[in-house]
């Protein structure tokens, strides 16, 4: 069967059923969202998220997805419409990046506070200023405390699998929190890798229908959503969000186990590589894990036993699991693709440091910021970071891969 316009629309639209096919991260999101059968999709275009929106619009137009597609006038309205749709009782999805995510920021804690398990595909991109369209994690980490589940992916297959897995997780009655599935802008969103796609009916039975606890469309039982709630009950309601986030960790393990039974692919909260016999560890999120692996192989050839811990689940933060892996090490280099600008290092570093506070043993820690605005991370820089931790030279906030002091144009005396 052929679909009109598939040739110019790329491989995802071609019947993506004969495994494996080569698709990009953005295409993987679109394919997974189509199979998840949302009722409403609302989005606003922003680089590098755009082709997710284009594919979904196309799927709806061609009848491959029976959803209402709303091309709204801003990201603020995109998330607002998604919240309204989810409250009305349908699975609802949006996608964004960078400034778009920050434009949604007002609605983020509202979605979690209203316990609406909507999906937001985040294609990570730097924040302005200066304006930059390339990858770092500053956008989704800026909103890390909004009560949303957050996962960071490192391959196209992982993006596809995580969209499906995370919906089941988010919609679990014990969780009911919104979820961001994050992928590195361009590094994943625009790079094609082989993807194994599940048959539609397997996805349908894995996810089931969206079953809201209460629906706005239930006129027989009219409910009020979004009440005013002051000193008497606000504290309890916010605590419920906090409890749901704590419960979410265990529910994630169950959902991942179910997904493993279906696909043979297991996606743990943190992924490790060569950590068993390691003296030093590198902690990282996203696609840079591949570079870190290459650096680890080089270091191991020199006899330095280094391992990798890639954090996939950032919210809830897998504190105990992570501390268990890192405790036995002599030193750990944490590589952050974002900075808190607190003078104290990146967000991942701070979480790792906090996770280790209650541990029996405390490895020496080094916090490094790399790759902002899409700058490549080179294996030599990873090696240097591990070396600095080994020598105890750094605690936090060191930037990797700098070219030197930024030049000013026109320079002194220049025109």
């Amino acid at each position: 069967m052929t679909v009109a316009g598939t040739r110019e629309r790329g491989p995802a639209v071609r019947e993506a059923l004969a495994p494996p096919v080569a698709v990009t991260g953005n295409e993987a999101v679109a394919v997974a969202v189509r199979q998840a059968r949302p009722g409403v999709i609302a989005a606003y275009p922003i680089t590098p998220q755009t082709d997710i929106v284009q594919y979904l619009a196309h799927f709806c137009r061609e009848g491959m997805l029976k959803a209402v597609f709303l091309p709204v006038e801003s990201e603020h309205s995109a998330l607002s419409a998604v919240i309204g749709a989810a409250a009305a009782g349908v699975r609802a999805v949006s996608a964004t990046s960078s400034q778009g995510l920050l434009h949604m920021a007002e609605l983020l804690p509202i979605a979690s506070g209203m316990r609406l398990p909507v999906l937001l595909a985040v294609v990570n991109r730097a924040l302005s200023a200066p304006l930059n369209i390339h990858c770092d994690h500053s956008d989704s980490l800026f909103v890390r405390d909004a009560g949303w589940l957050q996962l960071y992916c490192a391959s196209v297959q992982e993006v596809y699998d995580t969209v499906l897995l995370s919906l089941r997780w988010a919609e679990d009655p014990r969780v009911r929190l919104p979820v961001m599935v994050c992928q590195d802008g361009f590094f994943l969103s625009h790079c094609a890798e082989n993807l194994e796609v599940l048959p539609d009916e397997e996805v349908s039975s894995f996810l089931g229908d969206y079953r809201p606890e209460v629906s706005l469309l239930d006129s027989e039982h009219p409910a009020s959503f979004g009440a005013m709630d002051l000193q008497d009950w606000y504290l309890e309601h916010r605590q419920e969000v906090s409890s749901a986030m704590r419960r979410a960790f265990g529910v994630y393990l169950e959902a991942a186990e179910e997904f493993f039974r279906l696909t043979g692919r297991y996606w743990p909260p943190v992924e490790t590589y060569a950590l068993d016999d390691a003296r030093f560890g590198v902690v990282v999120m996203g696609t840079a894990a591949g570079t870190v692996r290459a650096a680890i192989e080089r270091m191991r050839k020199r006899g330095l036993l280094v391992g990798l811990l890639r954090v996939r689940l950032y919210r809830p933060f897998p504190r105990e699991l992570l501390a268990g892996f890192l405790e036995p090490l002599e030193g750990v280099a944490v590589l952050d693709r974002a900075d808190t600008l607190s003078g104290f290092g990146g967000p991942l570093f701070l979480e790792v440091a906090a996770s280790l506070y209650g541990a029996r043993r405390h490895p020496r820690l080094g916090g490094f910021v790399y790759g902002l605005g899409g700058r490549e991370l080179r294996p030599e820089e990873v090696e240097r970071a591990v070396e600095e931790v080994r020598r105890g030279e750094v605690f936090s906030g060191r930037y990797l891969g700098l070219r030197g002091a930024a030049r000013r144009y026109p320079g002194p005396g220049g025109r």
Binding site: H76, S77, S80, A81
Partner: protein, 309 residues
């Protein structure tokens, strides 16, 4: 409940048949126009309904956990996004093939200012939503600050001594989207209001109602005079009753004996300074503006339309 049409509305009939879908016991002030507007809209509308609210007086006063005054499904998300939330609710209902009417209630701050982009998007995308702006000409919930709807000359906490600029003409902005139906009315003209609600809910696409809603607290007027202020606003041609359907303008009421604008202004503390000797010129300015707008409206009606600006 019986199918209703957009024919003439008889209060006795509505009162017998209709259910009060906004219960008493809410926390709005005595004399507030907003709940009167809501009651009349809900009486006129057919169920099933979903109501979407923007942050503001009406919202904070009607759904105060664990109480709610709403006997219909109701959702509030934030201040500047009621039209976008309504878009999502309407889209979900369309997806589920459910016949539900979506009605937005938002104040002028949420409509003229912070939510104008969302309103514009909803109108342009042609969502079948009735958007009701209850207009009390300022940010009353936060303590009487000026909005894009505050008229020239009105004293607010952020325009001490009176606002310098004229108000925004929201009806013209809405009409510039080519909406099938938009109308202006007041809760004192209940038959007019309810007929307009029914008409608005019949059109296939977005509809808009601009409804006058006195605020005794912000206007510094007597609570028992709120409906009188509505009538005076109409009889002075400050707030004409009119509707625009598919671009055709219809003025619904021409005062037989037009009252001077000062009769309307004099009952409100926010205009008191206009009656001092130094306020004379500004009072004339406001009178000229009201007169100009009224003439424009009449000429548009005569001209057989030109619903847009």
């Amino acid at each position: 409940m019986k199918e209703r049409t957009d024919g003439p509305v008889r209060l006795s009939q509505v009162a017998q048949e209709g259910e009060d879908l906004l219960s008493g016991g809410h926390r709005l002030c005595a004399g507030c126009g907003a709940p009167v507007v809501v009651r009349q809209v809900l009486l006129a509308a057919r169920r099933p309904l979903v109501v979407v609210g923007a942050t503001g007086c009406l919202e904070v006063a009607t759904c105060f956990y664990p109480y709610t005054a709403w006997r219909v499904p109701w959702i509030h998300v934030a201040f500047g996004n009621a039209a976008a939330v309504a878009s999502g609710v309407e889209a979900a209902a369309r997806h589920l093939r459910r016949e539900v009417r979506v009605v937005v209630f938002a104040g002028d701050g949420a409509t003229y200012d912070i939510g104008l982009g969302a309103l514009s998007g909803m109108l342009e995308r042609r969502h079948r939503v009735l958007y009701v702006c209850y207009d009390n000409e300022g940010y009353m919930n936060t303590g009487v600050q000026r909005s894009g709807s505050t008229p020239r000359g009105a004293d607010t906490t952020t325009t001490p001594g009176g606002k310098e600029e004229p108000r925004k003409d929201l009806m013209d902005i809405v009409l510039a989207h080519g909406v099938p139906y938009a109308a202006q009315t007041t809760p004192a003209h209940f038959a007019d209001l309810m007929r307009k609600v029914r008409r608005a809910l019949q059109v296939d696409g977005p509809s808009f109602l601009s409804v006058f809603a006195p605020c005794p607290r912000g206007w510094r007027s007597e609570p028992e005079l709120s409906m009188e202020l509505c009538r005076l606003a109409v009889d002075t041609c400050y707030w004409p009753l009119y509707e625009v359907e598919e671009g055709r303008v219809q003025v619904n009421y021409r005062p037989r004996e037009r009252r001077p604008l000062s009769d309307y202004l004099a009952l409100q503390g926010r205009f008191r300074h206009l009656f001092q000797p130094e306020g004379e010129e500004r009072l004339r300015e406001l009178e000229r503006e009201v007169e100009r707008r009224w003439r424009e409206l009449l000429s548009r009606e005569k001209g057989g339309g030109a619903g847009g600006v």
